[in-house]
Homo-oligomer: 76 residues x 2
DNA sequence: CGTGTAAGGAATTCTGACACG
DNA sequence: CGTGTAAGGAATTCTGACACG
């Protein structure tokens, strides 16, 4: 599940987010996809889950820096 | 593990096979990737395992039609 | 701040074919 | 039979920027 194998397109399908949102979350250091030689991002299923959580938190009123500080997004 | 999320490039990395081999195995009905709107193949981790088994069998002297007839590649 | 979009380029994947054998 | 390759096109992804606010 930690294998970084998905390109951004399928991640969009799986999360319902836009490429723009995903790239922004990466820019803010909330997710860490790996890169192919060509520069394309590769995500894992874990990243997909995390991205969904990030978006939820943002919709709940949190900010990207809040999420970064906390490290984990979920309290369990 | 059955989620068809990987494009052919990563499958090549994961299996060590070439795109040509993977497409040929699909042509011979040994694997069944899904397609994106744009026509790109998407594979699952299960497909990756199957592809490795297919290639092993072929190296052992089997033919694609032998593999197709047997259905399963592994006897367990 | 978080996200949308148009812009141009680079990398990825696709198909059908010729080749060897 | 199974696989390599060059060919041209179409789809995908990338970055930096302007926009709103």
């Amino acid at each position: 599940m930690k294998d970084k194998v998905m390109s951004i397109g399928i991640v969009c399908d799986l999360t319902g987010l836009t490429e723009r949102q995903i790239r922004y979350y990466e820019e803010k250091q909330l997710v860490f996809p790996v890169r192919t030689k060509g520069g394309a991002r590769k995500f894992s299923f874990e990243d997909v889950e995390r991205l969904k959580e990030i978006n939820e938190k943002l919709r709940d009123g949190f900010h990207t820096f809040d999420l970064k500080k906390s490290g984990r997004l979920c309290c369990k």
